[in-house]
């Protein structure tokens, strides 16, 4: 699976909507799809999936505001791992 597929599948599980696949610029916080507990749940799930240690204290909320931004974050992390 590609990085984007892994991110979007985990995001769909946490968010409970497949819209995350359809609209990569979806405003996850503005649309109340993710709250702080959901974000941490996603961080934990994606840390496990990619085998990369990510701590909530490293995450800028702005960098996780849309599905596209989260994909970009992980593409960068996977490349530099």
């Amino acid at each position: 699976m590609s990085v984007s597929e892994i991110v979007l599948n985990e995001l769909e599980k946490v968010a409970g909507t497949d819209q995350v696949h359809k609209d990569l610029n979806l405003d996850l916080f503005g649309e109340k799809i993710l709250d702080s507990f959901g974000t941490v749940e996603l961080i934990v799930a994606l840390s496990d999936s990619f085998g990369i240690e990510i701590s909530p204290g490293q995450i800028d909320r702005e960098l996780w505001a849309t599905p596209q931004k989260i994909i970009a974050y992980f593409e960068e992390r996977v490349k530099s791992a």
Binding site: G16, T17, K22, K32, F37, V40, I59, D60
Partner: protein, 489 residues
């Protein structure tokens, strides 16, 4: 000394010490006393001395503390409302409580302008034990919130207990304030701090929503007494750097509001080896907490789930089944009797009569919680009804369902808490629509979340919406909640 005197003494002993720090704003004890006296004087001139409640809506501004004390000193109880509460819910609360007025932090600022001459202290009201001090509104199963009246006597009983049990260092502690003031967990940190001359360190909802900022703030907080829901501590524990080096001053974690998992307590003891971990239990109707226990590694090894402790000395806990005490060790409904039990629900004698009565000449409250005793400790075994705790917030499932039913496009709705590790993880709403129209599930969800957001606070909005033609039914003709929940796993 009464509670007002206990708090005001710090404006003489340590006038320059911060009573409150919130997002860069500070309030000293001298300012707190001066401004709350000024507010009391102003309110006394404006309002009749009829003890009618005054609502105050804000978030973590220093004016919230000024308002709470100023309102009480003017002879009225206060109703704390968070700024996130939708206006329709606020209206319902104001009507139910017959509130005399609604104050905001900006209005408080205006009423207590620092240039004002020192206010007279003649008009300061010192509440009698039976006078209401605050009224906190909680979720009601019918869809309307109910206001729990906490008297001065209730609060004094609670404060006396925690002060004796914890022996806070006078004028030297910093207390974490995580919960909004509308949630009675905040009473624990607010008044423990004010009576001991401590500093209340507030986290705002924007800080909590931005983990990077949150941990930066915590690093500089100098918190010595951590007061939060277990969920919030669990949330912080996902950050590997959340340990003693981040907040070296912490000497106590003090929990209330929901079940404390042994794993959370164990992780805290490992990461903060010098700190104590305390678990407490109690409904809003019995003033924040009624039982407590210090959780040690030995307790964790011996019990899972963890006990919630032993009752405070001036109250009794009964475990009842069909109105009679159960045999030792058996499970039954937890009934709390003592001076910390609320006077009832404001202007709702019907609800008050159902839940409150007298036991051994003490006021008693039927909690609706199941519990049992083992080895002298009380254990919480869940609810008898559809009330849940989600991230520490008390929610009646019926409250959400009734508000969903009130939306024009909804024919029927069932809300289910999705459980993870024996705790509610999130809410899912199963909805039968009157008409599907030509919209995607996402668009309908977005509309329903927005409409519901106009009626309920954010924490009550289900995370997932699932649209169905009809619900699976039980033999009794009711929606089969178990089957619906299983469909989501």
């Amino acid at each position: 000394m009464n509670l007002i005197e206990q708090i005001d003494q710090w404006s003489r002993k340590t006038p320059g010490r911060n009573a409150h720090i919130s997002d860069g704003q500070t309030l000293t004890y001298a300012e707190l006393t001066q401004r709350s006296n000024a507010l009391a004087e102003s309110l006394s001139k404006q309002l009749p001395a009829d003890h009618s409640p005054i609502a105050v809506q804000g978030h973590k501004e220093p004016e919230m503390l000024i308002a709470f004390l100023g309102i009480v000193k003017s002879g009225h109880p206060y109703i704390p409302l968070d700024s996130s509460l939708p206006s329709q819910r606020v209206e319902t609360i104001l009507e139910t409580a017959k509130a005399a007025m609604l104050l905001t932090p900006d209005q408080v600022k205006e009423l207590v302008k620092p240039s004002q001459a020192d206010p007279s202290t003649h008009s300061i009201h010192h509440p009698a034990p039976e006078d209401a001090w605050y009224i906190i509104f909680t979720s009601g199963s019918t869809g309307e919130p109910k206001g729990v009246v906490i008297t001065c006597g209730c609060l004094e009983s609670f404060i006396h207990w925690i002060s004796c049990e914890h022996d806070f260092a006078e004028g030297a502690e910093t207390f974490l304030n995580q919960a909004p003031f509308s949630f009675d967990l905040s009473v624990m940190d607010l008044y423990a701090s004010l009576v001991s001359g401590g500093t209340l360190f507030s986290l705002t909802k924007d800080m909590i929503a931005d983990p990077k900022r949150l941990f930066q703030v915590l690093r500089h907080s100098e918190i010595s007494c951590w007061v939060s829901t277990p969920s919030f501590a669990q949330f912080c524990l996902t950050e590997p750097a959340f340990k003693e080096q981040m907040i070296p001053q912490v000497k106590k974690f003090w929990f209330c509001g929901e079940t404390l998992a042994p794993e959370v307590a164990g992780s805290l003891l490992e990461r903060f080896p010098k700190a104590e971990v305390w678990n407490t239990y109690g409904p809003t109707e019995a003033t924040v907490a009624t039982t407590s226990i210090r959780i040690t590694q030995e307790i964790i090894k011996r019990y899972s789930p963890l006990p919630v402790g032993k009752p405070k000395p001036d109250c009794e806990i009964h475990i009842l089944e069909n109105g009679a005490d159960v045999k030792s060790g058996e499970r039954g409904e937890i009934v709390i009797a003592g001076p910390n039990v609320s006077a009832g629900y404001i202007h709702r004698p019907d609800l008050t009569e159902r839940a409150f009565y007298q036991v051994n000449h003490m006021r008693a409250y039927r909690t609706g919680d199941l519990g049992h005793y083992q080895d002298g400790y009380l254990f919480f075994d869940g609810r008898m009804d559809f009330q849940i705790k989600l991230h520490g917030y008390r929610i009646e499932i019926g409250d959400i369902e009734n508000n969903l039913h009130a939306l024009t496009s909804v024919r029927d709705a069932v809300v289910i808490p999705i459980m993870k590790n024996n705790k509610a993880d999130y809410l899912a709403a199963f909805v039968v629509l009157k008409e599907r129209m030509n919209k995607s599930d996402f668009e309908i969800t977005r509309t329903l979340k927005r409409e519901l957001g106009g009626r309920l606070p954010d924490y009550m909005i289900p995370r997932k919406f699932i649209f169905v033609e009809q619900f699976p039914m039980t033999h009794n003709g009711k929606a089969d909640r178990r089957k619906l929940a299983e469909g989501l796993k």
